[in-house]
């Protein structure tokens, strides 16, 4: 079973637009990872947000975390064509043994 899940499977926007991807998760977590996967590559961490942070920024990226609603979002400001990728949220599960549970991902396409 997957505990983190993105709400939208695919998004297509124009260059320069802002975009937000959402992730809701079913089980308690103290941290949400956001990964980006380029075509033909493995996922790479872009933002890690902890429960005491509520919001975290990195360049044009902004992540939020609301533990009360068990949801997180990733926003990209003024998207560029190079932001085209699949974005995953992942939550940490610690029942039994620690592991990272990935959502199904959102394919973001930024068109020129």
């Amino acid at each position: 079973s997957q505990w983190g899940e993105e709400n939208l499977q695919a998004l297509s926007i124009q260059e320069g637009e802002d975009v937000t991807m959402n992730c809701s998760y079913k089980t308690y977590t103290t941290v949400v990872h956001w990964y980006r996967q380029d075509s033909g590559r493995g996922p790479a961490l872009i933002i890690l947000i902890r429960s005491n942070e509520r919001e975290k920024r990195s360049g044009r990226l902004r992540a939020t975390l609301d533990t009360s609603s068990q949801s997180s979002s990733l926003s990209i400001t003024a998207a560029q064509c190079e932001d085209t990728a699949v974005y995953f949220c992942a939550t940490e599960a610690s029942s039994g043994s620690w592991q990272l549970i990935f959502g199904s991902g959102t394919q973001l396409t930024v068109m020129p």
Partner: protein, 113 residues
Amino acid sequence: DMKVTQMPRYLIKRMGENVLLECGQDMSHETMYWYRQDPGLGLQLIYISYDVDSNSEGDIPKGYRVSRKKREHFSLILDSAKTNQTSVYFCASSFLFANTEVFFGKGTRLTVV
């Protein structure tokens, strides 16, 4: 140079053959993982290893086994491969505590015909 290296990158096997996927990391990470990725399903955890000879099943371990005899090396073995094991397999590693980045390899695309 922090890196997770997977070999081979591409592999074609016949149904019933044995498959060995190898993974190495140079970051002295205690924890290593094997995931598979299928279209629309995200990443599914097959096995996780917390150190040498300390392996645990993930969500989809059936049909797979793993070996970790050195901290920097983690192998995924398919005994008698099946066509439904055609997928992209990712190895990953991290330090052994929460709130830590997981580093991924570039993946191995396995086709079982």
